[in-house]
């Protein structure tokens, strides 16, 4: 168990925010988190971002965010781990506060995806792959999801329609989340007929990119208890890596980094997978949801999809996932996504999840995955008792 607790959270709606700049996006989430924590004493800022240098011609987000949020002077920097940047930034804040060298840290995940159009966003997303041996062949991030899904279908004998339950669940939950990018319900029958993006991945298999920002403020637990009524404790926190390129993985269909980070986080928390009440996983593609459930120990190899078929991932199921819509329906703002996941688990544990609430949730897990398995960040949060 760490000595770190969450005292403030904030998030913007994930959408195409044409009228909002990168800095404003970050500020809106930070403003909400500062209000929530009743403080503006921030000692360090960790910015989770993947693509601002390419999409907004803006690097050095640490100084930009600190300046624009009225936090000039604070220690601040960007943390990048492709689409796991947000989770990785959260991890740095936990380390900093746990070390005792930083009293209060702010994590802000921000991604501004709509300042470029067309294939420049696809190209930027692809920089998370191996530039010399994957992207140079025209492979894209979506293409990696498709290579995984095709192999999964072949090896485990499942069809495209068998993945539908993940997206149907995500959209059902997103429909109840006012901050979700998509709030329409999805019919399973329509799933397999959706237009292909990268065969066999279709439009309903993959999470939509959008602009968004989310923020979390953490401090030492003993201070947290005095500052806010319902601090949420960071019970476990871990990052692990695997080979960057998909073709180098020991087992293509096993998210080794995800497994390792879950095991480390559970060990730190003194818990087992059975103790987890909800799991915000990285459902960038339906196959990634299946693989994450398997790697975390909720399903045997090749059987993760069955949890979707059997409704075990629903709010009243054995292991609810994507409880606010997940990447699929809440939206996937790249390097900000991992911070959304933390905010959402914290809301579940505070009992402030509104229509998305999991009754009696006490322990929640968030997992942010970079480049389809090259990095995995797992955080376990629990109600402070």
């Amino acid at each position: 168990m760490s000595d770190v607790s969450i005292i403030g959270i904030g998030q913007t709606k994930v959408q195409e925010s044409w009228d909002t700049s990168l800095r404003h996006l970050a500020w809106y989430a930070i403003e909400e988190a500062l209000d929530d924590a009743h403080t503006n004493q921030i000692d360090a800022i960790y910015v989770g971002n993947m693509m601002a240098g390419q999409l907004s011609h803006q690097s050095h987000l640490g100084a930009l965010v600190a300046d624009f949020a009225g936090l000039r002077g604070a220690e601040a920097m960007t943390i990048e781990a492709a689409d796991a940047s947000g989770g990785a930034a959260m991890r740095q804040a936990v380390l900093a506060v746990q070390s005792g060298l930083v009293k209060t840290a702010l994590v802000v995940g921000v991604e501004k995806m709509t300042d470029q159009t067309g294939n420049l966003v696809t190209s930027a997303m692809s920089t998370g792959l191996d530039a010399d041996y994957e992207a140079v062949h025209g492979l894209t991030n979506t293409g990696v999801g498709a290579l995984l899904m095709r192999r999964y279908m072949h090896q485990y004998g499942v069809g495209v329609a068998d993945f539908a339950g993940f997206s149907v669940n995500a959209h059902a939950n997103g429909a109840d989340n006012p901050l979700a990018m998509f709030r329409n319900r999805l019919k399973a029958e329509r799933f397999a007929a959706a237009p292909l993006v990268a065969d066999p991945v279709n439009l309903f298999d993959m999470a939509p990119g959008g602009d968004g920002s989310a923020a979390v403020i953490v401090t030492r637990n003993e201070r947290a208890m005095d500052m806010v009524p319902r601090p949420v404790r960071i019970a476990g926190s871990a990052i692990a890596t695997d080979t960057l390129a998909l073709h180098d993985r020991e087992n293509l269909l096993w998210l080794k980094a995800a497994e390792t980070s879950v095991q480390r986080a559970l060990a730190a928390a003194g818990l087992t997978a059975d103790d987890i009440d909800l799991f915000e996983l990285h459902d960038s593609f339906t196959v990634m949801a299946a693989l994450s459930l398997e790697a975390a120990g909720f399903a045997a190899k090749g059987e993760g999809w069955q949890l979707a078929r059997d409704g075990q991932i629903h709010r009243d199921g054995r292991i609810p996932i994507s409880t606010f819509g997940g990447l699929k329906a809440r939206g996937n703002p790249g390097g900000a996504t991992g911070v959304y996941q933390i905010v959402e688990v914290a809301r579940q544990l505070r009992g402030s999840a509104g229509d998305c609430q999991i009754e009696g949730a006490k322990i929640g897990m968030a997992q942010n995955v970079g480049s389809n398995g090259a990095s995995a960040v797992t955080h376990i949060l629990r109600v402070n008792e």
């Binding site: 294939n119 062949h137 290579l147 072949h154 993006v197 990268a198 065969d199 293509l252």
Partner: protein
Amino acid sequence: MEVSRHWRLNEQRYRLVGETCDSCGTKLFPPRDVCLECAAPAKELYTFTGTGEVFSYTTIYDAPAGFEQNAPYTVALVKLEEGPLVTAQLTDMAKDEIHIGMPVEMVTRKLSTDGPEGMIVYGYKFRPAVVAAL
């Protein structure tokens, strides 16, 4: 233009030159100097035969910059005869004949172009294997 970035990989792009592990004999492509299996040094060069089979594949419709004119195109994971998987485009075949397990062989083709005036990047792709006469 990123000339040196591509030029320094000519041996890999044109001839599939990888490495072999001194300790356990594992063949590595791409070369990485350290064995993926046993972590021993693996710096001895090894030229792959260029034959293998399709392990997984996808057709890309939403192409990144430099690949627009080729879209849709098919990218595969090819399991080389010597063991490693390699990421490459499939070429010289109809989409409906592609399947997992299909025997393929390496050829050199144009990978991408950087506009009408820009650099052309060449490298390996895989086509259906020409079955050797018995």
